[in-house]
């Protein structure tokens, strides 16, 4: 039993070693290239367990997933109106044809990225040169990206690469231009501020003027109504007086005259120069004889 078990153990170990040299797994995320002395013998695109000849064949795995290539820093790119823009972008790409990819970039990722980067830069220049700042920033941003994608994709097919997407990130003014932009922004704000303040002043003026107008109207109308009311009072009073005094107009004149005299002469400073022959002094000199 003992040697048997040991034998099994040893055999299993040997088997494992052989298997590890002649079996390989291909992940869903990869394609595998089987190379024999540097020649590509076969390509495994489906996941699973595969056999290879041990020692003489080796396997290269190529990732098929979409990868991102980010331009390391912004490039200065000139637009149609000869303005320098700082442009930053990234590329989403994947290996479409593992064989071609491996052959053209010799399996070196760096190589692929450098080539792709060059394509994107050239494409960017071409797109920006025929467009204005307005177009690349707002108006035709999507068209720029789409036509970049299409162009880079066409070129990159030769490398076995499919370009899924090219996206612009930064599209900014360079430092020199930025200063003049700040100046413009400042002026625009100054304009807005002035406009707001003068609008405010005008509104205030308008409201106050309107208030003054209303005040005048209110007071004048009140004056009008007040005068009418007073007039009514005067008229009513006049009617009452007339009604009463017409009972005896002559006596009224007498009575009212006396009142007027009393009102007119009541101060020491009023000096009356009197003739003793007047009606009042009838008895002053001749007591006893009434009348003249």
């Amino acid at each position: 039993m003992k040697p048997k078990a040991a034998t099994v153990l040893v055999a299993a170990l040997i088997l494992l070693v052989i298997a590890s040299f002649s079996l390989f797994t291909v992940d869903q995320r990869q394609n595998a290239l089987v190379l024999q002395l540097g020649e590509i013998v076969s390509i495994k695109t489906q996941p699973g367990l595969y056999l290879k000849a041990p020692l003489v064949q080796n396997v290269i795995f190529v990732d098929r997933r979409v990868r991102t290539l980010d331009t390391p820093d912004s490039d200065l790119i000139i637009t149609a109106e000869k303005i320098n823009m700082l442009v930053d972008s990234f590329v989403k790409w994947r290996v479409a044809d593992a064989r071609q990819y491996y052959v053209s970039v010799r399996g070196d990722e760096k190589n692929a990225e450098a080539r792709l980067l060059q394509l994107v830069r050239d494409g960017l220049r071409a797109e920006f040169n025929k467009r204005t700042v307005d177009d690349v920033v707002s108006g035709q941003r999507e068209q720029v990206m789409e036509s970049l994608r299409a162009n880079v994709d066409r070129e990159a097919r030769a490398l076995g690469i499919q370009v899924v997407d090219v996206r612009l990130k930064r599209v900014d003014y360079s430092e020199k231009v930025a200063d003049s932009v700040y100046e413009q922004m400042r002026q625009e704000r100054v304009r807005v501020a002035n406009e707001r303040r003068s609008t405010g002043a005008a509104e205030r003026e308008k409201i106050q003027a309107d208030a003054d107008k209303q005040r005048q109207i209110i007071i004048s109308e009140a004056y009008r109504d007040a005068q009418r009311i007073k007039g009514e009072g005067d008229a009513k009073a006049a009617a009452i007086y007339a009604q009463a005094y017409s009972l005896n107009p002559e006596f009224y004149a007498f009575y009212r005259s006396l009142d007027a005299y009393k009102e007119s002469f009541k101060n020491r400073s009023d000096i009356l120069v009197l003739d003793p022959n007047s009606e009042f002094f009838k008895y002053f000199k001749n007591p006893g004889r009434g009348g003249k």
Binding site: Q28, G48, V66, D134, Y182, E203, K206, Q214, Q227, K230
Partner: protein
């Protein structure tokens, strides 16, 4: 998280990249099973002595360990993705699980419940800025700083693992978010970016979502929040002043309204006063008239009874009243030929009783003098008042 965070892109050449990863996991599991002792050393103490059942036991033991390496635990917020010979076979739910051991099956675990966040334009706090990410051009060729954060979740672990080389998912989403936000801001005027940032955030969120779906990344945007949006420092002062100007405009407007609110009620008050006074005047004039009329009627009634007597009485009373209060000079002109000289100004002086009784002006030191003066003044006032009536 370490399991589904492989750095594929960097380890290009050198065999299947996940081999050593899994080997490490395997070792770690062994460690766990043997309470942290060395991974590959057989634990049995009598391994050195070739025992009677040593080899079979060893085989069984190795088999058991190998099979045991297939156990794994999926936490509540995770999903396990099982691959058999590199091909996806199942998505496992939370709980203790078992997969056929390496190299037949492998598992990768993805966090799907947790909200993840990536910040653009800053890290952790808005003080820690990343100016090159935050500065953006607007549609009206102005520059604005936008600091925002994207919250997202992995909703499809399969897509998340198989379609993209994601690596650091925060950086992955950040890149897409930055591109999307710049596109939205590039289409928008600066005022809208500054003062209607919620809409900008929503649009950017939609765009980010579209891109994530186009790349089939298995990631879903939860929401996009703008943490800070500002004009650049260089023009901050001008923007502040424009905002102050807006305040000023409102202030002036309300000043105008305050004036109106002051003036118009006062005018209404004045109007009411005028009307009340007029009404008062009307009633008083009528009342006076009625009073005078009643008095006269009463008198007339009596007068009609004895006209002559009443007339004389009234006349004499009136004269008495007048003459007792005035200065009188009786001039009896017999012939009327001689010219009468009346020094009126002298007489006027004598009419004021004080002036008549007052001798030469006294020295001002006497206490009477001012009082006399005051009296005089009072008199004059009285006179004036009476004249006024």
């Amino acid at each position: 998280m370490a399991w589904n965070d492989p750095d594929w892109g960097r380890k290009s050449s050198g065999g299947p990249p996940d081999l050593d990863e899994l080997w490490r996991n395997f070792n770690a599991k062994l460690n766990r099973m043997f309470g942290g002792k060395g991974g590959n050393r057989p634990p049995a103490g009598e391994a050195g002595q070739p025992g009677f059942r040593g080899a079979p036991l060893l085989i069984v033991l190795i088999l058991a360990i190998w099979l045991g390496s297939g156990f794994y635990i999926v936490n509540a917020r995770e999903r396990g993705v099982v691959l058999r010979f590199g091909k996806f076979v199942e998505l496992t739910m939370p709980g203790p699980r078992w997969h056929m051991p390496y190299p037949i099956e492998t598992v990768e675990i993805v966090d799907v419940e947790g909200n993840r966040v990536t910040e653009i334009g800053y890290r952790q706090s808005v003080q820690n800025r990343q100016p090159h990410e935050a500065t953006m051009l607007t549609g009206d060729k102005s520059i604005v700083n936008v600091l925002f954060a994207v919250q997202y979740r992995v909703t499809d672990p399969q897509q998340f693992l198989f379609n993209n080389q994601i690596g650091d998912d925060q950086a992955y989403v950040r890149q897409i978010a930055e591109s999307a936000m710049r596109e939205v801001v590039g289409r928008t005027k600066i005022d809208s970016v500054l003062y209607e940032s919620t809409q900008v955030a929503n649009k950017a969120g939609e765009l980010i979502q579209q891109m994530l779906e186009r790349y089939q990344s298995g990631i879903t945007v939860q929401n996009v929040t703008i943490s800070q949006v500002q004009p650049p420092e260089q023009v901050q002062a001008a923007f502040d002043d424009a905002n102050r100007a807006d305040q000023d405009r409102k202030r002036m407007r309300s000043e105008g309204e305050a004036y109106a609110n002051d003036v118009i009620p006062k005018a209404k008050g004045t109007a009411a006063r005028l009307l009340q006074e007029a009404e008062g005047y009307r009633q008083s004039v009528i009342a006076n008239a009625e009073g005078d009329a009643a008095r006269f009627r009463a008198l007339v009634a009596e007068y009609n009874k004895a006209p002559a007597v009443t007339r004389d009485r009234l006349y004499l009373e009136a004269m008495q009243q007048i003459l007792s209060n005035t200065t009188k000079i009786v001039v009896d002109q017999k012939s009327g030929t001689s010219l009468l000289y009346l020094p009126l100004d002298k007489l006027m002086q004598h009419t004021t009783p004080e002036a008549a009784s007052m001798p030469q002006p006294k020295p001002a030191a006497t206490p009477d003098a001012p009082r006399a003066g005051a009296d005089e003044a009072r008199m004059r006032d009285l006179l004036r008042n009476r004249e006024g009536r």
